[in-house]
Amino acid sequence: MSETSNLSAALAEAPMARRGIAFPVTLALVAVAGALVPGHIGSALLLTLLTQATIGAVLATSVGILIRQNGLVSFGHAAFFGGAAYIVALAAQSGIVSAEVVVVAAVLVPVVVAFAVAFVMLRVSGVAFSMLTLAVAEALHELMMRWRELANGEDGLPVRLPSTLFGLPIATFQRPETMFVVCWIVLMALIAVLWVLSRSHLGTLTLAIQDNEERARFIGYETLVPRAIVFALSAGIAAMGGVLFALYNGFVTPDVLHWSLSGEALVMAIIGGARTLWGPALGAVVFFFLRDAAGSYTEHWQALIGIVLITVTVALPMGLSGAIVLLASRIKGGRNG
C-alpha cells in the first residue's frame, strides 16, 4: 500500500511545481487544436467515433476525479450519466419548461442527489463504497426497466427537443462535425475547472483526507463535507456527459444506466490513469479506438477489455498518463521515478 502511494505521490509532486503555467497553456493549445479537427477530417465515421469518445471522456473524467481526490472507485457512475440522460428525455417530453432549463436541471439534480447520498455512502470503507455504488446504480437501472409507465421500460424514450438550444440550432448537437466541437469544448473546460479546483484549498484538503482522515480530523477539519462536495462534483460531470449523450443520440434506453457502462467508464479511467486530470480522457480515446480496431473481434470485446483492465491494473498502475509523465520527466533529465 505504502509503496504505491509513495510512487504516486512522487509522480504527482514532481511535475506539479514546474507545471504552474505549462498546464493551462498546453491545455489551451490542445483545446484549440482539437476544435480545428473537424475541418481537417473528411471521414464522417471517424468524426462519429471521436464524438462518442469525447462523450466517453467526460464520463471517464468524472470517475477519475473521484479516484484522484477521494481515493474512491465508483462502479456506478452510469447512474448519474444515465440519470441525466433520462431527465432530459422525460422533461423534454412533458414540455412544461424550456429546453435550456431542462439541460441545466439534468446536471443540477444529480449533483444535489449525489451530495445528499454522499453522507451515507461515504461513511463506509473504500471497498464497501465501491460495492454500494454498483448496488445503487443497478437498482436505478432495474427501476427504469420495470416501471414501464414512467419511462417506457426496455424500449426507451426518444428525446424531443425544440429547434434551438442556447441560441444554437438543434442540428449543432446532432451532427458529429459540430457536436464534436461542443463536446470537446465541454471536456476541455471541465479539465480546466478541475485543474483550478485541484490546486484550491478543497483540492489539497481532500488529498490530505485521502492520505489520513484521522489526522485531518485531528487538525480540526470536517472531513465528510469536502469529500461529499467532490462526490457531487464528480456526479455533475458524469451528468454533463449524460446530457451530451442524450442530445447527440436523440434516444435513451436503460442501457445508459447499466453497470457495464459504469464498468467501461472505470476501465477508461484506469487505462488512462487517474493520477492526472487528463488521464481518464486519454483512456477514453484509447478505449474507443481500441474497440474500433478490434473489428471482427468485437464479439469478444468484453473479454478483451477484462484482460486490458487486469494487465493495466497490475503492470501499469499509474496508467498511460502516468507513464507519459514519467517518461517526459526522464527525457528532461529530471529525477528518476
Binding site: 504505491t4 437501472h141 420495470r146 453497470w259 468484453q302 484482460i307
Partner: protein, 280 residues
C-alpha cells in the same frame, strides 16, 4: 402469505450461501471478490452441462469440485500476489475476471437463455394447509440451513475454524501467532468459491441461465454483506434472511420499485450503524 414467506426464505437462503462465500474470502484476504457473481454463474453452467450426462446429484458435486479448484487458483494466482497492493487493485482485477468469465461462458454456451430441469427426485409439491409448495424450493432452504449449520459448527469447533475466525478479526496478528494464513487462505477461498458454485447450481432450476445471471444476485449479496457488516458471518445470515424476504415481498406487492427496497433498508442500517448490523 405463508407461500410468500417461504419464497422469501428460498431467495434468502441462496443469497446467504453466496454472501457467506464473500464473507469468508473477505475475512482472510481483506478483499471483496467482484467475480463472485460470475463464479455463481459458472457454477450454474457447469451444473447444467454435468446434469445432462450425469444427473442432478453429480452435477452438484461437479460444480462444487470445479469451483473449489477455481477458487484455490484464484487465491494462488490473484489474491496472494496482490496482497501487498491496495485492496482496490484486487477489486479491479476481479472485475476484469468477471468480464472474461462472462465472455468465456457466452462463447461456450451462447447468449440464449438455457433452462435447467428440476430434478425428478425433487419435483412435485407438498401440501401446506390449503395450498401447495414445490419440493425443490424446500430443498433449497434445506441446503442453506445445512450450509449455515455446517459452517458454524466448523468455525466453532475445528482448529481451522478457530484460525478463520481469528483471522477475520485480525489477519496480521493471527499470522504472527504462527498460523499459516497462506495455506488457510487457499482453503477458505476455495470454500468460498465452492459455495458460490453450490448456490449457482442449486439456483439453476429456479432461474433462466444466462451469462449475465450473476450480476443481479451479486449486487444483492453486496447489499447483504455491507448491511450485515463486512466480514461478519452472523451479520450475513441475518441480512440475507431479511433481504430475501424484502426482495420477495417487493417483487410481489411493489414490482415497480422492488429493486429499491433492499437499498432503503441498507441505507437505514448504515445511518444507524455504519459498520453493519453486527459489529466486527
Amino acid at each position: 402469505m405463508l407461500i410468500q414467506i417461504l419464497n422469501g426464505l428460498v431467495y434468502g437462503g441462496l443469497l446467504y450461501i453466496l454472501s457467506v462465500g464473500l464473507v469468508l474470502i473477505f475475512g482472510l484476504r481483506r478483499v471483496v471478490n467482484f467475480a463472485h457473481g460470475a463464479l455463481f454463474m459458472v457454477g450454474a453452467y457447469i451444473g447444467y452441462a454435468a446434469n445432462m450426462v450425469l444427473g442432478f446429484w453429480a452435477a452438484v458435486a461437479c460444480s462444487i469440485l470445479v469451483l473449489s479448484v477455481l477458487g484455490v487458483a484464484l487465491d494462488r494466482l490473484v489474491f496472494r500476489p496482490l496482497q501487498k497492493e491496495e485492496p482496490m487493485v484486487t477489486v479491479l482485477v476481479t472485475f476484469g475476471i468477471l468480464l472474461v468469465l462472462e465472455d468465456v461462458v457466452r462463447t461456450i454456451w451462447g447468449r440464449d437463455l438455457l433452462s435447467f430441469p428440476t430434478p425428478v427426485a425433487l419435483s412435485g409439491t407438498v401440501a401446506l394447509g390449503d395450498t401447495s409448495f414445490p419440493v425443490y424450493r424446500l430443498f433449497v432452504v434445506a441446503v442453506a440451513v445445512l450450509v449455515a449449520a455446517g459452517l458454524s459448527l466448523w468455525l466453532k469447533t475445528s482448529r481451522a475454524g478457530l484460525y478463520v475466525r481469528a483471522s477475520s478479526v485480525d489477519p496480521l496478528t493471527t499470522g504472527m501467532q504462527g498460523v499459516d494464513t497462506e495455506r488457510l487462505s487457499a482453503l477458505v477461498v476455495g470454500m468460498g468459491s465452492a459455495l458460490a458454485g453450490l448456490s449457482g447450481v442449486v439456483a439453476a432450476p429456479l432461474l433462466a441461465l444466462s451469462p449475465s445471471m450473476g450480476s443481479s444476485i451479486l449486487i444483492e449479496s453486496f447489499i447483504v454483506v455491507v448491511t450485515g457488516g463486512l466480514g461478519s458471518f452472523t451479520g450475513a445470515f441475518v441480512a440475507a434472511l431479511v433481504i430475501g424476504q424484502l426482495h420477495n415481498l417487493g417483487v410481489v406487492y411493489l414490482p415497480h420499485i422492488a429493486s429499491m427496497i433492499p437499498l432503503i433498508l441498507m441505507v437505514a442500517v448504515l445511518i444507524w450503524r455504519p459498520n453493519g448490523i453486527v459489529r466486527t
